[in-house]
């Protein structure tokens, strides 16, 4: 069965935050589900407090699996960021993750980008420097 090598399955998840081109980038790698959403949620909270208004990119290019708990954390991040006048962008690179956004009708409601490079163009209102 030609499906690529077997790796033994381990819970894999990582979330780290960087500053890039005026954006706070929260990059998520691995599986985004009930087990891992708390980590993403706290990274988003931290990113939102980082700068006012917050310009946040949620980079899901490295996400191998997402379910409705993962979608929920994205919706929650958007609410949180917009509540304080910021902007949130979401990078969705794989078809598998894109499909879950689409089937939930969120693909047209959220600003999805195919790559981090595309998401890093200046925010709609211009990148603030904290002023």
């Amino acid at each position: 069965m030609p499906h690529g090598p077997v790796r033994w399955p381990l819970v894999y998840f990582d979330c780290h935050t960087t500053e890039q081109a005026g954006w706070t980038v929260v990059a998520v790698v691995g599986e985004l589900d009930l087990a891992s959403v708390p980590g993403v949620r706290s990274s988003v909270v931290a990113a939102t407090q980082n700068r006012k208004p917050p310009y946040v990119v949620l980079d899901l290019a490295g996400v191998e699996f997402i379910d409705s708990m993962g979608l929920g954390v994205v919706v929650g991040a958007r609410k949180r960021v917009y509540a304080v006048g910021g902007e949130l962008r979401v990078v969705v690179a794989t078809e598998r993750v894109q499909r879950v956004f689409a089937l939930s009708g969120l693909d047209t409601l959220l600003p999805l980008f195919k790559s981090l490079a595309e998401a890093l163009v200046p925010p709609t209102g211009g990148v603030g420097d904290g002023a």
């Binding site: 819970v11 589900d33 379910d67 609410k79």
Partner: protein, 144 residues
């Protein structure tokens, strides 16, 4: 001999991934399933198992979640059983329909609708002693 796999896991979030893996691996034994369809099933199983785990956590229950995975030539059927407090599927709080702007206000309630669109059949039977969710995905060649 049937191709039925039974899995019992602790009602803890960190076992979700294991449940998905087992179902995906069991489904992969039927060569006629396309990989994308198995991915769909993985998500649907994740939704059902997430709800089951949460129902036990809500109740403080120590019992395990039971997942039964039955592979037939024309379909795969996955059942997820919990012993949580149950709910009324007809009135469960689900997010507003996909084309409503309002949907962006809802961080929860996305699971059951997703489960339904990802499978060919999704049936929920619930009472105050627990819930059973039955998910079915047909192989490409069989009638849907």
């Amino acid at each position: 001999m049937g191709r039925e796999v039974l899995l019992e896991i602790p009602a803890r979030p960190e076992y979700l991934s294991l449940a998905r893996q087992v179902v995906a691996a069991a489904a992969a034994l039927e060569p006629s399933f396309r990989a994308e369809r198995i991915d769909d099933l993985r998500v649907a199983v994740s939704e059902a198992t997430t709800n089951a785990i949460e129902s036990h956590l809500d109740r403080g229950s120590d019992e395990r979640i039971v997942i039964r995975c039955n592979l037939a030539d024309d379909r795969i059927e996955v059942e997820v059983f919990d012993r949580g407090a149950g709910f009324d599927p007809a009135t469960a709080s689900t997010a507003p329909s996909a084309d409503s702007e309002d949907r962006l206000e809802h961080e929860r309630g996305l699971g059951i609708p997703l489960m339904r669109v990802l499978t060919d059949e999704a049936e929920i039977v619930s009472d105050p002693d627990g819930t059973a969710v039955r998910l079915v995905v047909y192989t490409p060649r069989s009638p849907q």
